[in-house]
C-alpha cells in the first residue's frame, strides 16, 4: 500500500514513494496488514449478505425458532469469535509497533527544535554553545542514517508536525512540550504539512525535510551558523537600507545586522532555501518579488502586510535578499 507521498514543490512532481524511515516502515507494515485483513473481512461480509439475500429458497414459510436457527447460531458465534481474534492480533501488533517507534533514540541523536507559528515553521539547531545556534524556517535539513530528535512547540495555537514519509505526526500544543524522533534512510527531499487546523492558512503551512549525507549536512549547518554577508554591489547595499527602513525589519531577523525581530521567519539565509511562504512557492526572483509586494494575494490572511515600495526600491530589496545565501 502506498502509504506515503513524497512530492516536492521544487520538482513539482507527484511521486508515491515508499517509507523513508524505519518508523514509517513499521507503521506501513502495520497499515498494510490491517488493510489486507479489512479488505478480506469486507468481502466475506458482502458475500455473506448477498448470499443470504439472494439464495434460492424452498417453499416452506419461515418460522422463528426451532431447527432453522441452529446453523444461524453457529454462524453468528463463529463470526463473532473470528472478529474477536482478529482484533486481539491487531491490538498486540499495534502495541508492539508503538513500542518500537518510541524507543530511546540514543545519545548520538541530533536535536532540532521546531516551533509552529501561524502559518510557518521556525527551525532551530541548538548547541551547548549559543553562538553555534542556527535558526531557519520551513526547511529542515537532517543527516541520513542518524537519529534526529524533534522538540515540538507552539507559541500561538495548536499545530501538528507531519512529514508523512519520515514520521507519524505529533501535535505542537502551547503549554505542552512534545517530541518525536526518526532517522532518514536515504537522501531526498520530503514534504510535510501542518495537520492540525490552525486558522486561515492551515492549508499553506508546509515544510520540506532535506535528508542528505552527513558531510553535506555538516557543511550546510556550518553555513547556516554564519552571519549574513555584507553585500558588496551597490544595488544590494541599497536593498539592505530599504530592508532596514521599511516595515521588513519590524518582524524579520538577519543575523549580523541590526534586524533582530523574531515575529516572522529568520531571513539570514533566505536565498539558500528552496521555497517561500512555508512551502507554498518555489524560491525564484519573480515569486519573491510578488510575495513582498502582496503576500495577501498568495496567502490570504497571512500576518505579513503588503508593501508599497517604488520599483527601484523593490528591485534593490530583492537583490539584497538574494545575497542571503
Amino acid at each position: 500500500m502506498p502509504l506515503t507521498l513524497a512530492s516536492t514543490l521544487v520538482q513539482q512532481a507527484h511521486a508515491s514513494l515508499n517509507p523513508a524511515s524505519p518508523q514509517v516502515r513499521l507503521v506501513d507494515r502495520l497499515g498494510t496488514a490491517m488493510f489486507v485483513t479489512a479488505a478480506v473481512v469486507c468481502l466475506l461480509v458482502f458475500a455473506a449478505l448477498l448470499w443470504a439475500a439472494l439464495r434460492r429458497r424452498s417453499g416452506a414459510e419461515p418460522v422463528a425458532g426451532g431447527r432453522q436457527e441452529r446453523p444461524m447460531k453457529t454462524a453468528v458465534l463463529l463470526a463473532t469469535g473470528v472478529t474477536t481474534v482478529i482484533l486481539f492480533v491487531f491490538l498486540i501488533f499495534d502495541v508492539s509497533v508503538g513500542r518500537s517507534i518510541t524507543t530511546n533514540p540514543g545519545n548520538d541523536a541530533l536535536q532540532i527544535r521546531v516551533t509552529g507559528h501561524q502559518w510557518w515553521w521556525e527551525v532551530q539547531y541548538r548547541d551547548s554553545l549559543p553562538k553555534n545556534w542556527a535558526t531557519t524556517a520551513n526547511e529542515i535539513h537532517v543527516p541520513v542514517g542518524r537519529p534526529v530528535v524533534f522538540e515540538l512547540r507552539s507559541t500561538d495555537v495548536i499545530h501538528s508536525f507531519w512529514p508523512p514519509n519520515l514520521s507519524p505526526k505529533r501535535d505542537q500544543i502551547p503549554g505542552n512540550e512534545n517530541s518525536l524522533w526518526f532517522q532518514a534512510d536515504s537522501a531526498g527531499v520530503y514534504r510535510g504539512q501542518c495537520a492540525e487546523f490552525c486558522g486561515h492558512q492551515h492549508a499553506k503551512m508546509a515544510f520540506l525535510v532535506v535528508a542528505e549525507p552527513a558531510d553535506q549536512f555538516e557543511g550546510w549547518l556550518a553555513r547556516q551558523r554564519d552571519t549574513a554577508q555584507t553585500p558588496t554591489d551597490s544595488r544590494a547595499r541599497r536593498g539592505k537600507d530599504v530592508f532596514m527602513s521599511a516595515s521588513c525589519v519590524m518582524c524579520h531577523a538577519i543575523s549580523g545586522t541590526s534586524a533582530g525581530s523574531r515575529i516572522g521567519p529568520d531571513l539570514t539565509h533566505l536565498a539558500s532555501r528552496r521555497t517561500l511562504a512555508a512551502g507554498t512557492l518555489p524560491n525564484t526572483r519573480e515569486n519573491l518579488t510578488g510575495w513582498i509586494v502582496d503576500p495577501q494575494a498568495i496567502k490570504p490572511g497571512v500576518k505579513m502586510p503588503p508593501n508599497q515600495l517604488s520599483g527601484p526600491e523593490l528591485l534593490a530589496l530583492v537583490a539584497y535578499l538574494e545575497t542571503l545565501k
Partner: protein
C-alpha cells in the same frame, strides 16, 4: 385484562368513542393551534422536516466545498469562507441534523410503537422543538451575517480562544451548541420516561421493539454525554466573555482540557447518531424478511454495550497529542472492543435475511446499502483505533473518508430507509418505489465515489480542513473524482426531495399496514388520529401484529372525555396509574423565546443573565400556573382477572 372504575360519561360504541377521543386530543385548528400543539406527532413531524431542511443546507455547504477542492488552487471559496463552510457543515450535520432527526423520529414513533397516546411530557416536547429551532435559526442568521463560526465543529482552543478568534464567531458556535444540547436533553428525558412508564400493558421490557431499545440507549447516552459539551462550551464562552482562563496555558489553564471534555461528549455523539439507525435497520429487516430479527437478547445486549463502551473511547481522537503510550493502548483496546457488539448486530441481521424471505423494497435496499457502507467504515475504524497507524493518518483525508462511511452508512442510509418505511404511516401515502430505486442507487454510487478516494488522499498526506492544495502535491485527480461523486449525491438527494413532494399529493394510499409489519404503530390508521389508538392495546408478545392477528386485545374503561394516559410499571408494564395530560398551551413557545433572549444577549454582555433570567422565570411561572381544569388527578388502577 384490566379495567378501570366505571365512569358515567363513558360512551360505549366504537364510533362515538373515536369521536369523543378526537374532540379530547386534537389540537386547536389554525396557526394558534400549530403554535400551541403538544401532540408528539405534530411536533415530531415539524422536528423531522426542520432537521431535513438543515440536512439539505449542510449538504449544500459540502457541495460548495467539493467544488472548491475539485482542482488545485481553486477560487470558489477563500480561506475565510471555506473555514466557515466546513465549520457550518460539521455543526449542521452533527447538531442540527443527525441528532435532532433521530430524536424527532423517535419522538414521533416511540409512543405509537409502545401503544401510548403521547410522550410523557408533552409541553417539554414542544419546548424542546422551539429551542432547537431557535438554535438553528440563530446559527444560520449569524452565518448569513458573516458571523458564522470558523474554527471547526470541534473548535480547539487556543485557536477558538479570545486571543486568536476575536469577534463573535466562536461565541455563536458556543451558544448555538447550548440551544441544541438543551433540546437534545429534554428529548432524552421524555423518551426515557415515555419508554419506562407509558408502554402498553403487557409490553414487558423484553417485548419492546428493537427500535425502542435503540432509542432508550440513545436517550441515556444523550443524558450522560451532552452535559459535557454544554459545560465545556460555557467554559469557553466564559474565557471569551469574562476573561476566565480555563484554557489559557499562559495563566495556568490547559489547552488539552478542552479536547478531553469535548471528546468525552464527541465520541458518544457518534454512537448517539448511530444507535437509532441500528434500530431502524432492525425494524426494516424484520418486516422485509417477514420474520423477527434473529437473536433478540444479543441485539439488545449489543445496543447496551455499545452505549457503555462509547464512553471509553474518547482519547482515540487525541492519539497525536503526545499522551502516555500505555494509556493510549487502553483506548485502542476499547475502540477495538466496540467493534464486537456492532459486528454481532450485523451478523444477526445477515442471519435473519438468510432465514427470511426478503422482499427488495426500497427500505430494504437502503438496509443492504447500509451494511456495505457501514462495514467499510467499521473496518477503517478498527485501523484508526491503532495508535501507531492513527498517528500517521490522523487529521488526514483518511479520517474524513472513515467517518463519512460510518455516519452516512450508519445514520443516513438507515434514516432514508426509515423514511421510505414510515412515510406511509406519517402521511397516509406511499413514496414512489421507482424514484426510490433511482434515489438509492445514485446515493450508493455517489457516496462511494465521493469518499472512497479520500482514503488514498489521506495516505498520500492530504490533511483535513484545507481550503486548497498545491498542484505539485498530485492530489488533484482523486479530488476531482470525489467532487464528481458529490454531484451524484446531490442529484440523489434532489430525487428524494422530489419524491417526497410528489408523493405527498399523488402517492398511492397506504392503508393501516402497507408492509405487513409486526409492531403496534401499524395497528392504527395512517396517518394516526390525534389520540393514536382508540383502544390502548394489550401486548402478549414481541411481534403483536403477527402473533395476534385480527383485533388486538385492548384496555377497557379509560375515560375518553379527558386526556388520561395509562402509566405502567417499569419492568413488566402492568397498569399502575393514570396521568392527566395538559391541553394545548402557548407557554412552551414563550419559554423558548425567553430562553433565546437569555442565550443571545449573553454572547454580548454578562448583563444578558440579568435581562434574560427574570423573563425565563416569568414564562416558567406561566407554564406551571395551576389551573382547576387540568388538575392532576391520579387514580390507581384496579387489577381484575
Amino acid at each position: 385484562m384490566t379495567a378501570i372504575p366505571a365512569d358515567p360519561a363513558r360512551p360505549t360504541d366504537d364510533e362515538s368513542v373515536r369521536r369523543q377521543l378526537d374532540e379530547t386530543w386534537r389540537q386547536t385548528p389554525g396557526l394558534w393551534g400549530w403554535l400551541t400543539s403538544v401532540d408528539h406527532k405534530s411536533i415530531g413531524k415539524r422536528y423531522i422536516v426542520t432537521a431535513m431542511v438543515f440536512f439539505v443546507l449542510g449538504g449544500l455547504e459540502a457541495g460548495v466545498m467539493r467544488a472548491q477542492l475539485a482542482r488545485p488552487e481553486n477560487s470558489v471559496l477563500g480561506p475565510d469562507a471555506y473555514n466557515q463552510f466546513f465549520t457550518m457543515h460539521g455543526m449542521t450535520m452533527m447538531f442540527l441534523f443527525a441528532v435532532p432527526v433521530m430524536t424527532a423520529v423517535g419522538l414521533y414513533l416511540v409512543p405509537l410503537m409502545i401503544g401510548a397516546r403521547n410522550v410523557a411530557f408533552p409541553r417539554l416536547n414542544a419546548y424542546g422543538y422551539w429551542v432547537y429551532l431557535a438554535g438553528g435559526l440563530f446559527l444560520y442568521i449569524s452565518f448569513f451575517l458573516n458571523t458564522g463560526p470558523d474554527t471547526g465543529w470541534f473548535s480547539y482552543v487556543p485557536l477558538a480562544g479570545p486571543e486568536f478568534s476575536p469577534g463573535k464567531r466562536v461565541d455563536v458556535y458556543a451558544q448555538s451548541i447550548t440551544f441544541t444540547e438543551i433540546a437534545a436533553l429534554v428529548a432524552a428525558v421524555e423518551l426515557i420516561v415515555t419508554i419506562f412508564k407509558n408502554r402498553a400493558p403487557g409490553m414487558t421490557l423484553n417485548r419492546m421493539p428493537l427500535f425502542v431499545w435503540a432509542m432508550l440507549v440513545q436517550a441515556f447516552m444523550v443524558l450522560f454525554a451532552m452535559p459535557w459539551v454544554a459545560t465545556v462550551t460555557q467554559l469557553l464562552a466564559m474565557d471569551r466573555l469574562v476573561a476566565t482562563h480555563f484554557f489559557n496555558p499562559a495563566e495556568g489553564g490547559d489547552a488539552l482540557l478542552w479536547q478531553h471534555l469535548f471528546w468525552f461528549f464527541g465520541h458518544p455523539e457518534v454512537y448517539i447518531i448511530l444507535t437509532p439507525g441500528l434500530g431502524f435497520v432492525s425494524m426494516i429487516v424484520a418486516t422485509f424478511t417477514r420474520r423477527p430479527v434473529y437473536g433478540y437478547p444479543a441485539m439488545v445486549l449489543s445496543l447496551l454495550s455499545v452505549g457503555f463502551l462509547s464512553f471509553g473511547l474518547w482519547v482515540h481522537h487525541m492519539f497525536a497529542t503526545g499522551l502516555p503510550q500505555l494509556g493510549q493502548s487502553f483506548f485502542t483496546a476499547a475502540s477495538m472492543m466496540i467493534t464486537i457488539p456492532s459486528g454481532i448486530q450485523i451478523f444477526c441481521w445477515i442471519a435473519t435475511i438468510w432465514a427470511g424471505r426478503p422482499r427488495f423494497g426500497v427500505p430494504f435496499l437502503f438496509v443492504l446499502g447500509f451494511v456495505v457502507i457501514f462495514v467499510i467504515g467499521g473496518v477503517t475504524g478498527v485501523m484508526v483505533a491503532s495508535v501507531a497507524f492513527d498517528q500517521q493518518v490522523h487529521d488526514s483525508y483518511f479520517v474524513v473518508a472513515h467517518f463519512h462511511y460510518v455516519l452516512i452508512g450508519g445514520a443516513v442510509f438507515p434514516l432514508l430507509g426509515a423514511f421510505y418505511y414510515w412515510f406511509p404511516k406519517i402521511t397516509g401515502r406511499m413514496l414512489s418505489e421507482r424514484l426510490g430505486r433511482w434515489n438509492f442507487w445514485l446515493l450508493f454510487v455517489g457516496v462511494n465515489l465521493t469518499f472512497f478516494p479520500m482514503h488514498q488522499l489521506g495516505l498520500e498526506g492530504m490533511p483535513r480542513r484545507v481550503y486548497t492544495y498545491l498542484a505539485g502535491t498530485g492530489w488533484g485527480p482523486l479530488n476531482l473524482l470525489a467532487t464528481i461523486g458529490a454531484v451524484l449525491v446531490v442529484v440523489g438527494v434532489l430525487l428524494f426531495v422530489i419524491n417526497v413532494a410528489v408523493s405527498l399529493r399523488r402517492g398511492a394510499l397506504a392503508g393501516d399496514d402497507p408492509w405487513g409489519a409486526d409492531t403496534l404503530e401499524w395497528a392504527t390508521s395512517s396517518p394516526p388520529p390525534p389520540y393514536n389508538f382508540a383502544h390502548i392495546p394489550v401486548v402478549e408478545g414481541r411481534a403483536p401484529l403477527w402473533e395476534q392477528p385480527g383485533e388486538l386485545p385492548a384496555v377497557s374503561g379509560l375515560r375518553t372525555d379527558v386526556r388520561d394516559v395509562l402509566v405502567t410499571t417499569l419492568l413488566d408494564a402492568r397498569p399502575d396509574s393514570l396521568h392527566r395530560h395538559p391541553p394545548p398551551t402557548i407557554w412552551p413557545l414563550l419559554t423558548a423565546i425567553a430562553t433565546t433572549i437569555l442565550f443571545v444577549t449573553l454572547i454580548f454582555t454578562p448583563w444578558g443573565a440579568v435581562i434574560g433570567t427574570p423573563l425565563l422565570l416569568l414564562t416558567l411561572l406561566g407554564w406551571g400556573w395551576p389551573h382547576g381544569r387540568d388538575h392532576q388527578e391520579q387514580r390507581m388502577v384496579e387489577q381484575t382477572g
